[in-house]
Symmetry: C2
Subunit: 110 residues, 2 copies
Amino acid sequence: MESVFTVLAEPSRRAILGLLADSERSVGDIEKRLGMPQPSVSKHLRVLRDAGFVESRTDAQRRLYRLRPEPLMELDAWLAPFRKYWSAHVDALERHLDRMDEPTHKEGKK
Amino acid sequence: MESVFTVLAEPSRRAILGLLADSERSVGDIEKRLGMPQPSVSKHLRVLRDAGFVESRTDAQRRLYRLRPEPLMELDAWLAPFRKYWSAHVDALERHLDRMDEPTHKEGKK
DNA sequence: CGTTAACATACCTTGACAGGCATGTACGGT
DNA sequence: ACCGTACATGCCTGTCAAGGTATGTTAACG
């Protein structure tokens, strides 16, 4: 049984969830919007499904995937104890996000 | 630069953050409470530190680690678009339950 | 100034997982 | 019945990260 966090560690998976936040989508739709090979999409959806993030219904040959709230609620619940911490630092997030604006950079040996 | 999600994918790391949510702690303290070897603790703290989750101050030979809010705020921000989604579901569920207005009503998970 | 305590880091090995590719399956149209 | 579309799955391989062990570093103390 995969942890919610393990599943979300994959950027492609988060991207898929982002798409599904807008609306229900087919595999081919996701494939085209994210520009990734279809088997990858299917595999990621499989993981998301096993973890309860999504569910699918069948429409002819298409499989339409949509979000399920439970795992995200679990994440929200995990986050709860920490929330009291940043009530003081409300604007610190913006400074933090500004710093992470780097292209994919692979170096950095020390 | 490691993603917030990648860092949180490790259970030991989440356990450490859980401890630090209570209070500032030394490496040895974490080591004993989690029952894991000291090098592991140091390595995880290193990852947490590089990702901005924690910071340390020096007290004699000890290093005291404490939480930093930014990455957790980032996680909270990521979660925001989905929050409205499941709150809609909860609302729908409540409306649904309102309709079946029954006197003897215990909680029911599907 | 040698020793011990507290922590960090370097090295190695192993396992998990994502990507790529090929193939399997299910459904619809003609 | 055949073919194309839409999606799933199996296999293989490279990569990367976590755990274990050993060793380095810094500070306190007699």
